[in-house]
Symmetry: C2
Subunit: 188 residues, 2 copies
DNA sequence: GCATTTCAGATGACAATGTCAACTCTTACG
DNA sequence: CGTAAGAGTTGACATTGTCATCTGAAATGC
């Protein structure tokens, strides 16, 4: 038998899933509370029992995405057999994959102004990244190069998405740029 | 006496200015065609005589912003007295300035999917940038490093805007990251 | 076991907004 | 001078976010 709180939690989950699916399929303008409710099997007003408003729902989706990324990064960094350099590459390409396969979600994860909860989840996903970098370039330089790498990946994805990183104009591509950066890392 | 086409052109200008002002003041959601028309002294339907729809108006604003940036870059690169290294720094900090002082406009300039006209204007603004880089690192490597620098600046601005580039977390900031990149440029 | 409270959900209503169709009126043009 | 063109206005409509109100079932207190 399902209790009331269980049912409410299930509804909340359905709302989040429906909204995330709509976002991936049709972008931000496809996410309407009416359609979200409809797909989740509830009415248009039901989301207000679980989220303060539409922005709050979107922020929750972004926070969950950061949480998943954090979990992946933690799992990656925990593998003792894998070399640090490979872990770093995996983390960066994980970010590239999200940006390319779910561009709308990726943009939502970098929304300004960011929600507090989302920022915390994002920061958590960056901790294992810093740990791996520490192993590579030493703890002193880890933050510096971490910021450099993360901002670069973010910039690559942004310009790629807006079509400003065309191969014919720049005679290079995302992977090549990233290789240059990784190759320039000082050995720790 | 003002002709009809002159008056229409003036209205179009007023609409663009009003929309750009609203964007800077209150972000994208503050740009409503009704308020744009009102500030331009016309009715809510008038914009449709000059732009296909709201998106078209926004795309025109973005294209104009890229055009202005292109003009500045051309003027900068034309100065024969200024060292190439300083020109490069000026161009990059010009981009940083726009991103910080007019974040909503900056985001609009990197919208996905981008309008064709806007992409052309953006590409035009990058030509003098490539010229300066050619002087610095040679024509062969100009494109590669140009893409690296531009994507980095874009990424820095994006993460700064969403609050993910806090000094206490990364123990560095935008200017320091940029200095690192500029310092890593091979001498041409 | 029953009365009461709580709360998820449904529904009606409303204002804001993008957009279109119909209309007006000034201006350019034959 | 008459006619066409087109800038601008206005009425209308669908969509959407949001709130107030209502409903019904589950949890809680006695």
């Amino acid at each position: 038998m399902i209790s009331r709180v269980e049912s409410a939690a299930a509804t909340r989950r359905s709302l989040l899933d429906a909204a995330a699916a709509l976002l991936n399929e049709g972008g931000p303008e496809a996410v309407t509370l009416r359609e979200v409710g409809s797909r989740a099997g509830v009415s248009r007003g039901a989301p207000y029992r679980h989220f303060h408003d539409k922005d709050d729902l979107l922020a929750a989706i972004a926070a969950e995405a950061w949480d998943r990324l954090a979990d992946e990064a933690v799992a990656l960094s925990a593998d003792p057999a894998r070399p640090a350099h490979d872990k770093l590459r995996d983390m960066l390409s994980g970010m590239l994959t999200i940006g390319r396969e779910k561009p709308h979600l990726y943009r939502l994860m970098h929304r300004a102004p960011a929600a507090e909860e989302m920022l915390r989840a994002a920061a958590r996903s960056q901790d294992p990244f810093l740990t791996v970098l520490s192993d590579l370039v030493g703890p002193d330089r880890a933050h510096h190069y971490g910021a450099l790498l993360l901002t670069s990946v973010h910039g690559i994805l942004g310009m790629e998405a807006s079509g400003q990183l065309s191969r014919e104009k720049w005679r290079t591509d995302a992977d090549e740029i990233l290789e240059t950066l990784l190759g320039a890392l000082p050995a720790g």
